[in-house]
Amino acid sequence: MSLRSLFPKPTRDIAFPLAGSVLLFGFLVGGGLLYQVILGSGTAERLVTTMLIDAIIVIGIQIYIGNTGILSFGHVGFGAIAGYVFAVSAIAPEDKIKRIPKAPFGLTDVQVSPGVAILLAVAFTVVAAMILGVGLARSGAESGAVAATVITLALLFVTHEVAKSWSELTGGNRGGLSFGIGESLDGRVLIFVVLFLALVVARLYGQSRSGRLAVAAREDNLAARAVGINPLVQQMVALVISVVVVSVGSALRVWEIGSILPDRFFFDYTMLTLVMLIVGGRNSVTGAVLGVVVMTASRELTRRLGQEGFEVFGIGLDEEPLDWIFRENLNNVVLGLSMVAFMIWRPGGILGDWELDEWLYRTFGRGNEEEPERLPELDVIPDAQFTASGIGVAFGGFQALHNAGLSAASGEVVGIIGPNGAGKTTFVNVITGMVQPDSGSFAIDDLDLSATPAHALARAGLVRTFQNLRLFGALTVRENVETAALVAREHRADRVVRDPDALIAEAGLWELRDRRASELDYGNSRRLELARAAAMAPSFMLLDEPTSGMSNSESLTMIEQVRHMAATVGAGVIVIDHDLGFITGISDRIYVFDQGQVIAEGTPTEVQADPRVQAAYLGSAAVT
C-alpha cells in the first residue's frame, strides 16, 4: 500500500496534522510549564506531570472512541494489563521479592530495562485487544454498539478482579508493586516525547484512509457498507492503534508514580478519562486535549475549595453551611455531574467535530479552488451484465416474490415499477444483500453475488442509494464523496474512478462542498447520495426511490442528472420509483411488478400499452 493511498492529499493529510500536533503539544506543555512557573511549587509540577500523562491516555482512547463512535469502558482495563506487565518486568528482583516472592513462571527474578518493559507491555496488551476485538466486532455487528460497550465494561471489571485476586503476581490490593527508591521515572523528557508522538499518531490516523473509513461507519454503518467499507476491519485497526497509545501511556503512568495498585486503573480513572474526552469533544483530538486541560483545572479547583481553611473573600468554605458542599470527595460528584450535564445539553462536547489542523488547512492551506470542468461522458462503456433470475422470497406463508428476475446491461437505465405490495422493495432488499432469497440468484457477469455481504456487493460494482437518505452526516459534502473514492481506488481500479471534486461539481454541489452533509436540504442530499454512489465507479447503480419527496420539476432535473452521472462513470442504472412520469422519462426498459411477479417488460411505450399492466397497475393504483 503506497503512502498516497493511505493519505491522498499529503499537505492536508500529513503536513497540516503534523503542524496541528505541534500546536496542541505547545498548548499543553507550554501552558503547563507556565502554570508551574507562576505557582512555583512542587504540587504544581506534579499536577502538570499528571495532566500530561492523562493527556496521552485520553488521546489514545480518542483514537478508538472518536473514530468508531463505540463507547469503550475497557481502555483503562487495557491500561491495567499494560501497567502490570510493565511493573512486573521492569521492577528489580530485590524490590519484587518483598511483595511477590512466589510469582508464577519465575517472574520474581526477571528484570528488563524500562524501554524493553514498555515494548513488552504494548505487545501483551495488543494481543489481548486483538482477541477481545474479535468478540467486540462480532457482537457489535450482531447486536449493535451497546453490546460492544458492555463487553468493554466487563473487561474493565475482570482486569481489576484478576489484579486484586492474583496477588502472587500483582501484589494484590494492599501492597501492589513498587519500584525501589530512585528507580521511578526521573525527569519529563520521555513524557514529552510520548505525548508528542501520541498527538501525531492520533491526527495522522484520523486523516488516514482507515480513519476516514471508520468515521464514515461511525456516522452511518449501513451507508458505509453500501460504499464498500467493512466497518469491522477499520474498527479493529482503530482499536489496536488506540491500545498501543494507551499502553505506553499507562506504563509511563506506573513508572512515574513508581507503583501500581488495582484501584489506580479502575472505575475512577475510567470515569476521569472519559469525562476529559467527552467534555472537550470526543470526535476531535483538539477536543480531547481541551477536555484534559479543562477537567484538570476544574478538579484542581474543586480540590482546593474542599481543603480545610480555604477562604474566598474572607468566608471560610469549610465552615457551616458551605462545608456541606465543599468537602474532600467533591471531585467525584463534579465528575459525574459534568458527564450527565454534557450528555444532556451538549453531547458533542465543547468543540464537537472541530479539529484545529482541519480549520487551519481550510483557512490557510489550500488557497483558491477552481470549480472543476464538467465531466465528459465515457465514449466506450466497459461491458457488464447484471442478471437476477428465479428469485423467490416467502415471509411466513406470504409469498412476497415468486420467480422474479431482471437483467440490465451497462449503459442502460432499467426501471422497476409496480403498485404497493408488488414486491419491489423486497426485490431491492434481495439484490442489496439485506434479505436472503429462498431461491434464485443474481450476478454481475459471471460473478455470483447471492449471499454476498453488503460491502462486498459494493466492491463488486453494485452500489445502491437509500430511499430514506443515508449520508455521513458529520462529514462535509466533499468528505462524503472522497470516502467512496478511497474505497473505489482500491477495489474498483479497473474502472474509471472519477475525481471526487468533479463529481461534486457535476451534482451541482460545488459551492456547498465544505458544508456538513447533515446541513443540506432534501434535494441536495439526494444529489450528494448520487455523487457518492458514482464515486464508487460502480458497474451498476441501484437507486431506491430517488425522487421521493421531490417536486415534479425537481424530478425532471433529476432525470438529466442521473443519466449524465451514470454516463460519466459508465454505469448501468436500476431505478425503483412510484412516480410513473419519472420512471417512463428516465428508463430505457421497464419491468412491471405485481403480486410478487414480473408481469411485463419492455420499453416505456410497450409497457404502457400492455393490457395486463393497465389492469394491474394503472387500473388499481392511483396514477398522477
Binding site: G69, L71, F73, I131, L132, V134, G135, R138, S139, G140, A141, E142, S143, G144, A145, V146, A147, T149, V150, I151, L153, A154, L155, F157, V158, E161, V162, S165, W166, L222, F267, M271, L274, I278, R327, N329, L330, N332, V333, L335, G336, L337, M339, V340, M343, I344, P347, N429, M434, F466, Q467, N468, D544
Partner: protein, 295 residues
C-alpha cells in the same frame, strides 16, 4: 452426583437474582434502547435506607416493603431527572448518561455517608439448611427460587394479559408506531421504569440479605451481573434476560467448583473468558433477537 445437584441448586439460587436484575435491565432497554448502568443504584439506595431503618429499630418484615417502595421510587426519580432528557438520543449519549448517574449516586454516598462498609443485619434463618436425601439445601436458596418463579409468573401475566403490558410490548417493538396508535409514551416509559425498579427491589432484598452490608460502590456488582446476563441472553429479549441470568449464576458456581484449588479466586476471569467465547461464536447472545435494519 450429589455435589453436582448441590451446585446446580446453588447456581439457580444465585442465577435467580441475576435473572430478576437482567429482566429489569431488559424491560427498560426494550422500551427506550437505554442500557441502564445505574440499575445497581436501585439496590444501593434501598440498601442505605435499610441500614438506616435497622438502626431505628425496624425489622425485616417492615424493611421489605421499604426496599420495594424505595427501589421503584428511585427508578422513577432517576428517569425523571436524567433519562427523560435523553430520550431518543444516540446510544452513546444514553449509555454515558446512565453511567454518570451511577457515578453521581455513589459519589454522594461517599460524600455524605461514608466510604466504610455499613452492615445490615442478616436474617437469622439465612444460613439454615434443610436436608433432602443427601442434599443440604439452604432455605435462602429455596426462598429465592420460589419468589423468583412467582415474580416471573406475575410479570408474564402483567406483560401478556394487561393493557399496560400490551402498550409496553407495542412500544418496545415500534415506539413511533405505538405512539401514533395512541399509546401514551410518557406513561409507558414510566411504567417500564417502575417495573424495572420493582424487579430490582425484589432482587435487592435477597442481595442485601446475602451481602449483609452496603458501600457506596455496592451497586457496581449487581449492575454488571444484570447487564451481562441480559447480554448473554440476547439484548432485547425478555425471556433471554431470564435465561441469561440463570446461565450466568450456574456458570459462576460450577466454575468455582470445578476449577483446581489454586486458581479458584480467578473464577470471575474464567467466567469472562467463557462470555467472550460465547460472543465470538454466538454474537447475538443465547436467544438472539434478529436485528431488523430499517432502510
Amino acid at each position: 452426583m450429589t455435589q453436582l445437584l448441590q451446585n446446580i441448586i446453588d447456581g439457580l439460587g444465585r442465577g435467580s437474582i441475576y435473572a430478576l436484575l437482567a429482566l429489569g435491565v431488559a424491560v427498560v432497554f426494550g422500551i427506550m434502547h437505554l442500557l441502564n448502568f445505574a440499575h445497581g443504584e436501585l439496590i444501593t439506595i434501598p440498601g442505605y435506607l435499610t441500614y438506616w431503618a435497622f438502626n431505628h429499630g425496624w425489622n425485616w418484615w417492615t424493611v421489605v416493603p421499604l426496599i420495594l417502595v424505595s427501589a421503584v421510587g428511585s427508578s422513577l426519580l432517576i428517569e425523571r431527572i436524567a433519562f427523560s432528557r435523553v430520550r431518543g438520543a444516540k446510544d452513546f449519549t444514553m449509555l454515558l448518561t446512565s453511567f454518570g448517574v451511577h457515578f453521581i449516586v455513589s459519589a454522594l454516598f461517599l460524600l455524605y455517608v461514608s466510604a466504610s462498609v455499613k452492615s445490615i443485619q442478616r436474617p437469622g434463618w439465612a444460613a439454615d439448611t434443610v436436608a433432602l436425601g443427601s442434599l443440604r439445601i439452604e432455605i435462602f436458596d429455596l426462598l429465592v427460587i420460589g419468589v423468583t418463579i412467582v415474580t416471573l409468573l406475575a410479570t408474564t401475566w402483567l406483560l401478556q394479559r394487561t393493557m399496560f403490558g400490551l402498550s409496553l410490548r407495542a412500544a418496545a417493538s415500534d415506539f413511533e408506531a405505538a405512539r401514533l396508535m395512541g399509546v401514551n409514551s410518557d406513561s409507558v416509559i414510566r411504567g417500564a421504569f417502575a417495573l424495572s425498579g420493582f424487579l430490582a427491589g425484589i432482587a435487592g432484598i435477597f442481595w442485601l440479605m446475602r451481602a449483609g452490608s452496603v458501600t457506596p460502590t455496592a451497586g457496581i456488582d449487581p449492575m454488571l451481573k444484570g447487564v451481562l446476563a441480559a447480554l448473554i441472553g440476547g439484548l432485547g429479549s425478555l425471556r433471554g434476560a431470564v435465561v441469561g441470568g440463570l446461565v450466568l449464576g450456574l456458570a459462576e458456581v460450577l466454575l468455582r467448583a470445578w476449577l483446581p484449588e489454586g486458581i479458584q479466586n480467578l473464577t470471575t476471569g474464567f467466567v469472562f473468558v467463557l462470555i467472550a467465547l460465547l460472543f465470538i461464536f454466538k454474537p447475538g447472545g443465547l436467544l438472539a433477537v434478529p436485528q431488523v435494519e430499517r432502510v
